[in-house]
């Protein structure tokens, strides 16, 4: 059981593959070619390659949160996508229990890439 002051770190992915972006597109229904279509991403939008759905990063972060706190523990979960996530990236999530209010743990959420650049920042609350 997590308590105020606890921190938890989880590796979300070691070497993000384009195949996982395809998997996420198929499961979520978000087929924006920016995420799976190399000619479109490079030649039309002038990105170096495809990049991950923000919701894939949030989804992996949600998996790590439930692995730590238990399925169905979350009451709220909100994030801002602060930088793009690319194939080959290694992502690490860091969770800090900052307080407890009205029976809910207040958790700071941060995900960084291999260069320690933050790609996602947010908060979650969970049953204490």
């Amino acid at each position: 059981m997590a308590a105020v002051g606890d921190t938890h770190e989880a590796q979300l992915v070691d070497d993000l593959t384009r195949t996982q972006l395809v998997q996420y597109a198929g499961a979520s229904g978000d087929y924006n070619p920016l995420h799976t279509d190399e000619p479109f991403a490079k030649e039309i939008t002038h990105y170096p390659t495809v990049f991950a759905h923000g919701m894939l990063t949030m989804g992996m972060t949600g998996q790590a949160l439930t692995a730590w706190l238990g399925d169905d523990a979350l009451r709220t979960f909100g994030v801002r996508f602060s930088a793009q996530v690319w194939p080959g990236d290694k992502l690490t999530a860091r969770f800090t229990v900052e307080g407890e209010e009205e029976g809910a743990l207040q958790i700071a959420v941060s995900v960084v890439n291999q260069d320690d650049r933050e790609v996602l920042v947010g908060t979650a609350t969970a049953a204490a």
Partner: protein
Amino acid sequence: MADNVQFPIEAGHVMLFRRAVGYPDADTSSAVPPTFAIASAQFDPDYPLRPKPGQAWFGSGKNPTSAAPTGDSGGPPTLHAEQHFEYHRPIRIGETLTVSSEPGKSWEREGRAGLLKFSERVTHYRDADGNDVVTGRSVGVQVHPKQEGGE
């Protein structure tokens, strides 16, 4: 999105979604992941980011692109800036949720890349009794690049 989209929570769909976001295959729990509500897009007949037979699609085929993005209102593309969920109770496999959404606040600010136009959308996922199960709030951003002199 369409009004009152019917979103059946199906075991196979949940399994595919769990695998895509990194749950181990060996973990056969049927718990619905915390971001699964977003996959209601699969059941929205008006969802613009899904190719449809007989309709132009903006991804590559013979050429790197073949159409303007569907549903694009003109101007720069909208990027997903924020996503928030409030869970009223867990989603369960076997139930059907009714999904509806409405525009929220909109605001602007100057950023390094130009004028940033933010717009919010609030999405309600309700059960057969009309009770809230999940409330989603997404924030999209359009970046309007700074106009350089002399162009």
